[in-house]
Amino acid sequence: MSVKFLVVDDSQTMRRIVINALKVIGFDTVVEAGDGKEALQKLQEENPNFVITDWNMPEMNGLDLVKAIRSTDAYGMLPVLMVTTRGNKTDVIEAMQAKANNYIIKPFTPQALKEKIDQILKAA
């Protein structure tokens, strides 16, 4: 299955790392955005079918991005994986209540990323 990813992170380093990890596990088609606001724009322009987003970002954070995606008819069912440093239980609960599909705490490995993506795609 061909998956086009949208990687959202305000850190250029993290975007590169996530994109590299995606390549390692066999996914080459990736677009990127620096915050939630830009991500919403990229959703319309690039039409990705999987979103990987950070939480803490300027303009619009990852949690608000998840809520914004879920509130639309066009992208309401889009798979969203959060990759963030926020590791408190309350953070995970908040993300899942906002209907993120899954959650990875940084630092992560390509293997962990693969497992989460597989889980999400399998459930979709």
């Binding site: 590169r16 790392i17 590299n20 990890a21 954070n61 440093t85 239980k89 630092p107 992560f108």
Partner: protein, 235 residues
Amino acid sequence: MQNVHVQDLPENAEAENITGMQQLLETLRKVMPVLDEIKTSVEHTSSKIPKASQQLTNVTQATETATIEILNLLDELGQRFEKVEQQLISIKDIVEEREKKFSVLIEEFKKLPAETQSAFPDFAKAAEELAGHTDNSKTIGDLCQHLSDVREISMNIAMALQVQDITTQQIEGVRHMIESVRRQLYNVVGKYHGRESIDVEDNGQKHFDSNASFNKDSTRQDEADSIIAQFTQHP
């Protein structure tokens, strides 16, 4: 409450009051320069905070630039290793093919009568020498494996660079605290000048996690996974 009349006061009360006032004024005379000094010191300290804050931002930007440069180099390294690996694989295929043909040739040669074999002494000698070196393709296979291991190490280095994002968030947390101290100091000095106070906390959205940590222990992820499981089983 019982009223106290002047005539009820002891005779020396007025004198005592004057002495008290004099002592108070004397204390204030001593304290005022100290307060002025504190105010100057606070103003001086406060004026340095923006510079400290800017320096932290510079550190973050410098580490991000350096990290991107390392990632570029690792990418280039990975691409070159991949090319070398591909070339080695094609060489391995050729060598394997030649080794097979050579073995067949030797076997055929050995089937020839002894007198015919002795007519080609150089071939017989070369065949004997090269027979012991038919594991070249295995050596190349080992080299490919080493290269693949090195590529994996280079990927691990790239993944370890997540530390840059994590420390950036920690530094941003410190910068935020420093800014809060500057605002508090601004308010302290402002009271002296009769100036209006500003909010101690920056009300803008925080785009950092000051509790971020570079922790490879899986406990936090395991806990997160058990919460996720509850949501996915009972959404």
